[in-house]
């Protein structure tokens, strides 16, 4: 099991969600964040005050996936979020120790398998 964390452009969120759903990745959490990844700073002016916006609006996705879903998830995000300009974002893949589905008490792989879907036969413990 892995936790895929992606930081992407807000205007690409819908494209990325669409790509993830096409790849059958269904469970995710998103949050609005601010960040800086080397993109050109914007200069804004409010009356006499001129400011350089160091932080840009970004959206962070957090997706807990079973092992065989890691690659499809990464490639869906990378393809849908790319514009080619600086500031497209990053994808981080983190090991996960344990997952619990609160409603049923299911753990680990069963907990990240969508309801109504047979768990994948690949049940090998995650190498951490």
């Amino acid at each position: 099991m892995k936790l895929v964390v992606a930081v992407i452009r807000p205007e690409k969120v819908n494209d990325v969600l669409e790509a993830l759903f096409r790849a059958d990745v269904q469970g995710l959490t998103i949050s609005r964040v601010k960040g800086h990844g080397g993109e050109t700073e914007r200069v804004e002016t409010y009356r006499g005050t001129t400011v350089k916006m160091e932080l840009s609006e970004k959206v962070r996705l957090e997706i807990g996936v079973s092992n065989h879903f890691v690659e499809p998830t990464i490639s869906a995000i990378a393809a849908a979020a790319r514009t080619g300009e600086v500031g497209d974002g990053k994808i981080f893949v983190l090991p996960v120790e344990r997952i619990v589905r609160i409603r049923t008490g299911e753990v680990d792989q069963a907990a990240v398998t969508p309801v109504g879907v047979e768990p994948h036969p690949d049940r090998t413990p995650t190498a951490v």
Binding site: R9, P10, E11, K12, N14, K34, H36, R42, V43, E44, T45, Y46, T49, T50, V51, K52, M53, E54, L55, T83, E85
Partner: protein, 432 residues
């Protein structure tokens, strides 16, 4: 000169002027937050650009003595427009009449912006509405109100159904087609970012509309009272019907629907305001809800990205109002001519001719004007800027900033006076 008339028209002009910032709130709430300022600026800047164009040329082209097609240039730069009454309104200062009519030109040009929000570059937009107010609004206003050919024909337009709403609606249709849909249109849901703004805008529009319709009597008289009451009753009926349609279709009464219903009712009663009975106003408002409601539902499924439904609300609402004026007008309530229902079927035909003339001129000239501006400057923001939002890309501002990550940029420190010492922006030593 009449003091009561002058007082009422002073107030009315201020009320109509308020409609433009009200429209900014109405439209601003309906777009995504990254385009909120750009959308509001499209209305607000009309105050500056169309307002100045009106004083310099627009007023003369609309109301100065001229041909049946357009006014002359004798009142250009406000020459001869003074404090004595002018020919159009015998009891108020000529200058006040000019200002009152100017507020109409400003809001009419701003109405078009709803069709092209979230994608048009701001410079070409300013050029467009300024030239539009001179080349489209001024002639059409002259045709109907300035002694032009539609006035001669006997077209009834109490406060601007043909001149303002059908005119802006036709321009909006053409502008939406020339600009093309937003890049995310029909691919992603683009939801209103602040519905309370839209309700605030609708409320302020209604308030301002009492000056728009009530003031169109150009005097504090019975016609003003009738127009005022009808501008109260018709939107009530439209709002009621709109809510029932919402409930019937979706089992939920929506707030955006209510705000839209109010505006459609106001649009529809505008040409008829001082010409029909209050009972007719209620009927007119109720009937007007149907075409606009279903046009909005239908439009959203087409490729026509008239983003804020200017065509359905103003074009169609104005058309229905103008035609129903030809049906419901009553000489016994002060109309110069009766309508179809009161024994004068010809009036409906005259109303139709007036609407067609307005649609043809407005649509045609808008097309040529946008193509001409587009040949010199790109009309559309590039896809990257559209994705980022027009607030940042066109204005260098955001509607909702937290200030996080904003570094203060200070250029050369400016001394307020030679005796005030210049403090460096960042102290070289930090005192505890």
């Amino acid at each position: 000169m009449n003091a009561a008339d002058t007082a009422w028209m002073l107030l009315s002009a201020a009320l109509v002027l308020l409609m433009t910032p009200a429209l900014a709130f109405f439209y601003g709430g309906l777009v995504r937050s990254k385009n909120a300022l750009n959308t509001m600026m499209m209305s607000v800047s009309s105050l500056g650009f169309v307002g100045v164009a009106w004083a310099l040329l627009g007023y003369s082209l609309s109301f100065a003595p001229g041909s049946p097609a357009v006014g002359g240039l004798s009142w250009a730069f406000l020459a001869g427009v003074g404090l004595d009454p002018g020919p159009a309104a015998a009891t108020i200062p000529h200058l006040l009449f000019m200002a009152y009519q100017g507020t109409f030109a400003i809001v009419t040009a701003a109405l078009i912006s709803g069709a092209i929000v979230e994608r048009m570059r701001f410079g070409p937009y300013l050029a467009f509405i300024t030239l539009w107010s001179l080349l489209v609004y001024a002639p059409v206003a002259h045709w109907v109100w300035g002694g032009g050919f539609l006035a001669t024909l006997g077209a009834l337009d109490f406060a601007g159904g043909t001149v303002v709403h059908v005119n802006a609606g036709a321009a909006a249709l053409v502008a939406a087609m020339v600009l093309g849909p937003r890049k995310d249109y029909a691919r992603q849901a683009m939801l209103p970012h602040n519905v309370p703004f839209t309700i605030l805008g609708a409320g302020l529009l209604w308030f301002g509309w009492f000056g728009f319709n009530g003031g169109s009597a150009l005097a504090a008289n019975k016609a003003a009272a009738l127009a005022f009451v009808n501008s109260f009753l018709a939107p009530c009926a439209t709002l009621l019907v709109w809510t029932l349609l919402d409930l019937a279709r979706n089992r939920k009464a929506t707030a955006v629907g209510a705000a839209t219903g109010i505006v459609v009712g106001l649009v529809a009663i505008t040409p008829a305001a001082g010409l029909v009975s209050p009972a007719s106003a209620l009927a007119l408002g109720a009937i007007a809800a149907f075409p606009s409601y279903f046009a909005i539902v239908w439009r959203a499924r087409t490729r026509l990205d008239d983003s804020l439904d200017v065509v359905a609300a103003h074009g169609l609402g104005g058309l229905v109002g103008a035609l129903l004026t030809g049906v419901l007008a009553q000489a016994s309530w002060g109309s110069p001519a009766d309508g179809l229902l009161f024994g004068n079927p010809r009036q409906l035909l005259v109303q139709l001719v007036a609407c067609l003339a307005s649609v043809a001129w407005s649509g045609g000239v808008t097309f040529v004007l946008l193509k001409a501006i587009g040949a010199l400057l790109p009309l559309r923001a590039n896809p990257g800027d559209e994705g980022l939002g027009l607030d940042v890309s066109q204005h260098g501002e955001e509607a909702y900033t937290s200030g996080e990550g904003a570094l203060l940029l200070l250029r050369e420190p400016v001394a307020l006076s030679p005796r005030v010492p210049v403090t460096p922006a960042v102290p070289s030593e930090v005192r505890s």
